[in-house]
């Protein structure tokens, strides 16, 4: 299926879209039987250095309920200067500016290679980007110092005209006024009291027009443009001030008695940050960047009390319903996140502490607004420093890799409806004819808001085929989907990116092999994983696993070939061959397994999983393992304990960690110092190779992975050992493991575990036959079983 692979790749590169199915089953029933839903991974702002934006407004379909953008799939009557909308079939006049078009003189949006096109439009005043630092001062001295330095450094990375603000918090919250000479001013709030947006604005003096109470007089009296400028000032004007201010930041001065946690008012601090932006710059691109070094311990949003003897909630507590503050805190942050999203701002969370910091409760702030979530051990680590620096990285065009306030609208042709989306977005609750009643992810709408996004941000969008079985689509018919993303570019321009794609319909009964061949198992794996992770947020872990298993079984059932009662006869076509393996690793992944992860870690992993693009997501699901040895060039090897050999160096990339593992012999050689002997220069090179490769990964990854360099028997080797399939040491952990046992014969030579899985599946199938009713007869029709 080389052609399909190419096709998929091409599409991804051009449009940033990967569909689970690239040929669509033409009826609802058929689609349902495909098990993996028709869905796509959309990277709305995928970097397209080759795509010059056009400087005019898009042409819209005139039907009020449609408003699709003119695209290459539309039929155009050049003579009548009419075009027909390919979604609603409305015929539209071209606007006057298009009077000169003809077959040879087409506007860009009609050219097939511009299935994705970007418009720059003039709408409203351009406001500079806004960065509001919300800084925890309850840190250790070193941590705070490091953080201060990072923040000071960041000022030089910001766009010169960006507005910047500073809020610090500990027991109290201080909103710093940045325009003062001679005295530094701040507004202080107590951390125990939740304030409404109105109160906050009143107290900050934002609600009264033109009462510069404490404004310095002479300078800006006439053109105090916005009152809030007291708190948000252009970087170029106040960077000296702010640098000094940051330099003078002190640790929270309130005494912390022994056995207590410092009182940290993260909840109110965030609330104030949100309120401040809400009152001053609604609907403009703004980042609230929260730097916190511990859990919120007071006020709304508190996650744990200040008594050290009471530990912060664990999964165990949560299962036992023993996490006192969790629900309330979560609610608080959810409210905040929703407000922030409504205003088009985003919240980043940089949490650096050895213990948990309450990411579980706060996750929605980042998740719903498209902000970053970074977790580290300390602000004084390169992990944090580089990650933070990378936030301000510039892309290929020299532009910041960030965009704000995106509004993603999806339009579908009639046979399709939109079931939902999963990603760092919130619903805008726009109902319409193309919105399905069945929801997958965040559904019930055809538009979502993504407050902060970068070129990697990827949404999973799920569709439902609604065409009835008895209304066949004519041969060669194509379904179309249009993604319209309006956003604020980092240059503060308003832009609209439009991607229109089309896929062929196929009748699943007669043309199943086409559909099968057009299956994108990687996309499907990620899409299913997102669904699973999304479910895991609200459901019990085992239920999700069972659901995943069932889906896999059904898929195998549908597309596998086998003889009844003969596990060895089971085979899947190439386009499905990797899928089970992904599922196997997904089950073991921290996204679904909470064992050995704190709730914060789980939230952190899930956060990243829900926004990364396909490649990164796959790495997360199934870490990559490279082997370096004298036996040949570096090669990818099975993520299996059998890959760990004494004379190999392994490099594992799990997205969150990069582990370099020296095999036993290699480690001994290294200890013996061979690498320093000229005659063993090749050994030196061998040692160096994985380091270089790791470096390359580190360069591009956001957030910075934890970098682990270890060797056989090293304590850190656990990072590797916990990921590999333990085929050689003991049986896997599943309840039905005894059946599989690793002794099954290989079906496909390259993947032992895969076999196990399949065998498992087969075993499960048997199991289901016997106990089918117990698992819910509705799921699988016994008649279809082997």
């Amino acid at each position: 299926m080389a052609t399909y692979l190419e096709f998929i790749q091409q599409n991804e590169e051009r449009d940033g879209v990967r569909f689970s199915w690239n040929v669509w089953p033409s009826s609802r029933l058929e689609a349902t039987r495909m098990v993996v839903p028709l869905a796509c991974l959309l990277t709305p702002l995928r970097e397209r250095p080759d795509l010059p934006p056009v400087q005019y407004e898009p042409v819209l379909c005139s039907r009020p309920t449609c408003k699709a953008v003119l695209n290459p799939l539309c039929q155009v009557d050049y003579r009548a200067k009419l075009w027909a909308c390919n979604f609603c079939f409305q015929r539209n006049q071209f606007p006057p500016a298009y009077a000169g078009i003809s077959e040879v003189n087409q506007p860009a949006e009609l050219m097939p290679q511009f299935s994705t096109i970007e418009y720059i439009v003039q709408r409203g005043p351009q406001t500079p980007l806004i960065f509001l630092y919300v800084v925890d001062t309850c840190l250790e001295e070193e941590d705070l110092q490091a953080l201060k330095e990072s923040l000071q450094m960041s000022l030089s990375l910001l766009p010169a005209d960006a507005l910047v603000g500073l809020i610090t918090f500990g027991r109290m919250i201080q909103v710093h006024e940045l325009s003062c000479e001679g005295i530094s001013k701040s507004y202080v709030f107590r951390g125990t009291k939740d304030l409404t947006a109105k109160q906050i604005q009143d107290m900050l003096g934002l609600s009264r027009p033109a009462v510069p109470i404490q404004q310095g007089r002479p300078l800006q009296a006439p053109e105090q443009p916005v009152i809030s400028s007291r708190f948000l000032q252009p970087v170029h004007k106040i960077d000296m001030n702010l640098t000094d201010l940051l330099g003078e930041l002190q640790r929270d001065p309130w005494p912390v008695t022994q056995g207590k946690r410092p009182l940290r008012s993260t909840g109110v601090a965030l609330s104030i940050a949100v309120g401040l932006l809400e009152g001053t710059f609604p609907n403009t691109g703004a980042r609230i960047m929260l730097f916190t070094g511990g859990p919120p311990t007071q006020g709304p949003g508190m996650v744990v009390g200040d008594e050290l003897k009471t530990p912060i909630r664990s999964w165990h507590d949560i299962e036992k319903d023993n996490a006192r503050f969790m629900k309330k805190a979560t609610k608080h942050y959810e409210t905040l996140a929703n407000r922030t999203a409504t205003n088009g701002h985003c919240i980043d969370i940089y949490a650096c502490a050895l213990d948990q910091t309450g990411l579980l409760e706060m996750k929605c702030c980042a998740n719903l607004t498209g902000g970053h979530m970074v977790m580290g051990d300390s602000f004084n680590t390169s992990l944090f420093k580089q990650t933070f620096q990378r936030v301000f990285n510039k892309g290929l065009n020299g532009e910041f890799r960030m965009a704000f306030g995106a509004n993603l609208e999806v339009k579908t042709s009639r046979e399709l409806k939109i079931a939902g989306a999963i990603g760092p977005c919130v619903s805008l609750n726009v109902k319409g004819p193309c919105v399905s009643e069945n929801e997958l992810g965040i559904g019930g709408t055809s538009q979502w808001k993504i407050c902060g996004l970068d070129p990697c941000t990827t949404l999973a969008i799920y569709f439902e085929v609604v065409n009835q079985h008895n209304a066949p689509i004519p041969q060669g018919g194509r379904g179309a989907v249009q993604f319209v993303t309006q956003y604020q570019h980092s240059s503060t321009q308003k832009r609209i990116r439009v991607t229109t794609i089309a896929r062929n319909w196929a009748d699943a009964q007669s043309q199943l092999q086409h559909i099968e061949a057009a299956f994108d198992q990687e996309a499907a794996a990620v899409l299913m994983a997102r669904l699973g992770v999304y479910r895991a947020e609200s459901e019990e872990g085992p239920d999700v696993l069972r659901w995943l298993d069932r889906q896999l079984i059904r898929l195998c059932q549908k597309f596998g070939q086998y003889n009844k009662d003969d596990p060895n006869s089971f085979r899947l076509s190439e386009s499905f061959s990797l899928y089970p393996q992904f599922m196997f690793h997904l089950r073991r992944s921290p996204f679904l397994q909470v064992f050995n992860n704190s709730p914060d870690e789980s939230s952190y992993y899930r956060h990243h999983f829900a926004r990364q693009d396909l490649t990164q997501s796959l790495i997360m699901i199934q870490p990559i393992l490279y082997a370096y040895s004298f036996h040949g060039p570096p090669e990818p090897v099975l993520l299996d304990s059998s890959s760990i050999l004494p004379d190999r160096i392994l490099l594992m990339d799990t997205f969150f960690q990069i582990v370099i593992y020296l095999g036993e012999t290699i480690a001994q050689w290294q200890k013996a110092g061979y690498q320093d002997m000229p005659e063993y220069e090749n050994f030196k090179h061998l040692l160096q190779a994985p380091l270089d490769d790791a470096q390359e990964i580190l360069q591009t990854r956001f957030p910075m992975p934890r970098y682990v360099h270890t060797e056989h028997g090293g304590s850190q080797a656990r990072f590797l050992l916990s990921k590999v399939n333990p085929s050689q040491t003991h049986n896997n952990l599943y309840a039905w493991g005894q059946v599989s046992n690793g002794r099954a014969t290989c079906i496909w030579e390259y993947c032992k575990m895969y076999i196990q899985i399949i065998v498992c599946i087969v075993a499960v199938l048997f199991y289901l036959i016997v106990f089918g009713l117990r698992l819910g007869a509705g799921c699988i029709c016994p008649a279809l079983l082997i």
Binding site: M172, Q174, C180, G182, I183, S184, K185, S186, Y187, V188, F189, R190, K193, L195, Q199, D202, M203, L204, G205, V211, P212, I213, Q214, Q215, G216, R217, D244, E248, Q250, P253, W254, P255
Partner: protein, 1083 residues
Amino acid sequence: MSVNQHTHAGPPYGQPQPGYQGYQQPAYGGQPLPGVPHTQYGAYNGPMPGYQQPVPPQGSVRALPTSGAPPPASGTSLPSGHQGYSQFGQGDVQNGIPTSTAPMQRPPASQPFLPGSAPAPVSQPSTFQQYGPPPSSVQQLSNHMAGMTIGSTSISAPPPAGLGYGPPTSVPPVSGSFSATGSGLYTPYTASQGPPPPSVPQGLPLAQPPFSGQSVPTQRLPTEVPGFAPPPSSTGIGPSSYPPSTGPHPGPPMSGLHGPPPPTHPPQPGYQMQQNGSFGQVRGPQPNYGGAYPGTPNYGSQPGPPPKRLDPDSIPSPIQVIEDDRSNRGSEPFVTGVRGQVPPLVTTNFLVKDQGNASPRYIRCTSYNIPCTSDMAKQSQVPLAAVIKPLATLPPEEALPYLVDHGESGPVRCNRCKAYMCPFMQFIEGGRRFQCCFCSCVTEVPAHYFQHLDHTGKRVDFYDRPELSLGSYEFLATVDYCKNNKFPSPPAFIFMIDVSYNAVKSGLVRLICEELKSILDYLPREGNMEESAIRVGFVTYNKVLHFYNVKSSLAQPQMMVVSDVADMFVPLLDGFLVNVNESRTVIASLLDQIPEMFADTRETETVFGPVIQAGLEALKAAECAGKLFIFHTSLPIAEAPGKLKNRDDKKLINTDKEKTLFQPQTSFYSNLAKDCVAQGCCVDLFLFPNQYLDVATLGVVTYQTGGSIYKYAYFQLETDQDRFLNDLRRDVQKEVGFDAVMRVRTSTGIRATDFFGAFYMSNTTDVEMAGLDCDKTITVEFKHDDKLSEDSGALLQCALLYTSCAGQRRLRIHNLSLNCCTQLADLYRNCETDTLINYLAKYAYRGVLSSPVKAVRDSLINQCAQILACYRKNCASPSSAGQLILPECMKLLPVYLNCVLKSDVLQPGPEVTTDDRAYIRQLVTSMDVAETNVFFYPRLLPLTKADVDSDSLPAAIRNSEERLSKGDIYLLENGLNIFVWVGVNVQQGLIQNLFGVSSFSQISNTLSTLPVLENPFSKKVRSIIDMLHLQRSRYMKLIIVKQEDKLEMLFKHFLVEDKSLTGGASYVDFLCHMHKEIRQLLS
């Protein structure tokens, strides 16, 4: 001093009498009789204007020497008491004396003590002085030291008195007679009286004339003379007939006092009686004086005219009384070794030697002789109260209370009542145990405190231990006496400045900031510490609060705005309260910037409750006590806790609802005050209102935390700057104790029942004050709950637990022993009118919170009428009902009471604002006796009569317009204001000298200070004003009043002997009224 005025006898008010017809008042005119104790002496002497110099001689009181000695004493005269005294000097004077007699005389009683207690003999210093010379009082004093009561040797010889009195010589004899008489007791008096002979029994006729003698202050006009007296006297005879006499008895002594007058005493008891009654004296004097006194002439005439009007000169004159006391008692130290001595008047400048009782600077009582039973107390209606100023400032010559450290176990205390070790504790069983003088419980002496007793039963280390030999001393408190069982941190001062539009515009903010820069170097510090331990913090506010971080490590101050006024908190901990020296540059930079920052403010609304809360929270966070200095300009109408509305309504005046004007409009501040007290957060309030700002409500916290309010209405930089800055400086610098709790313990029989002043009480016994400074006074009222005994007297112990300005926890103890009496006359003879007025004013001012003002005034009048009527009935010799007889010690009661009744609080004029009344009400409540004295009866000094070459003040004159001459310049001060009144006919030269302008019409009445001119007169006047400022706790506002100018109305308001525009009675009218009341009660 009792004035007995009986005017014409029976027909007091003349009306009845034909002759007088017109005079209703005349009656008063009668000469008052003084009959009183020392003071009187003083008075007498002094009294006579004329006498002044000459006089002195007369009165000598001689107290008898203490015990035994007396006899001789009496008889003998010692030569110049002076010398003698001087020698004894400290020691004292003593009058020992019969108990019953004047306090001074109490000695006898004391004697016994003496030995035991250490008190040295008491001396009646004052008396002596004046008397000294002349009469030579006698007495002697015991030296404290040895406890030896030594010689009571000296006795004064009346003779000297003779000088002036010579004529009346009778005196000597008198004295002699006394002595002879035997009763040593009286004798003493005799001495005093000795001089004047006169017994003028019937005073009436005489009296009148006499009074003419206004001079008389003296008054002793005993109305009646009755010879009875004698008998009853000491004994206090029962017979009703005598009763009077008895009364008099005591009285007599009193009268005796009247030194000036003739020695009533002399006549032994008999005389005494007279004295009481007696005008006689008056007469006596008069004649004599006649010539001397200018007044006299009048008399003559007056009598004639008497009719119509009671001659103001003939009624008791405060000026005279003050002068007399000053001259009689001002020159000798007042030694406190004797129980129940009446101290000199507050207006007298005297030194105090602590020999076992607290100095009158700390405690003054309404009476130093307490009735033994509650029946008597009720009958007399004389309130028993003590005015306590625990941290009073002492003149440099007097030693501060010693600090005693009893080690880790803390001060030695009675096991049962917890009274602290004091001179009155009785050690028994060889010193192993001591018996409490308050509750009689016997307590083991802790081992470390044990000491052997000498043969007199006194501890051997008696003189080494202040707590055994002194009336006032301090204990170092142990950790048990500290909050949370932790030693306190040094206190903090927080300056909270209103920066709303008004404050900024008037220049106030800039002024305060400038001043703070320098004032911070003068924070109070303890003893010899190099720098003050007090930390400072700064807050500004309008609708929101701005806190400042002035930590020394900062390059520039940080301002933190707290707008959440609904729920106040302190935004910072470290750096808010700082040491001045460490953060000097940051503070200076802050104070420079504050006026700049707010220069353009347009915010007019302010908050107030949150401001106090903020300060409170700051102190809480810092875990220390402290003081807030709040500079506030307007009614807090911004939305916040403690928000107020303008509820000023003049229509309520004189209605039943008037009291609401004095009540806080919300309970918020009372609750806040409670919290403040708990934390030791004292609030000082500086108000700069341009309109009503509800002092009654804003002041609640200040009041209950022991703070001070300063009010500068319509503040203007030019005119009010000095006053404000001086007040601020003094307020910042003055000694203050924090987080104070005061308890007054009394010996069995009486109990402290009521407290007046600026404090908070959470139970019925403990007075809690967040801050207590050296000017704050607490008045305590006592009631009987059992019988007292004459032998043991009554004891007070006032214990104040506080944190010093260095953060040291201490206990200050004041002990005072009082006599007890079974005779009402003793009570009346040992009263102090000034203290009484202090109590009555505070009582009345509290009353306005709950009763209509009219009811309060009526009850005041009624109570005083009862006091006087009781005296008349039980102590004065029988006389015609028409005669007004005032006890010598209380002869000024009517005039002072009238002043209280006319004060702005009880009888506001139309120009007096509600805020003014509330302000004064609160002010008076913390005043001490000296302050109330001058506040109610302002001091009026004729500047043009001042002796340019001496340091002394010109003699004061009475507060009446009649006494002003158009050709003179006068100065009037009442503790709050100084008026300089310029008559229209003043010589141009004087005007030029004083004001630097050439004519009367060019004098600007907006001056707030006198121009500095290099001429003797200007210098003198300015030095007088400076001197006055030094004496008062507040810097007085200087107002120049030109005669016949519109401001003169204001000035006249303070001429309290005149009828006031608002309906207040003139002194004369009021006296008549009182007389009427008394007569009603008697009949």
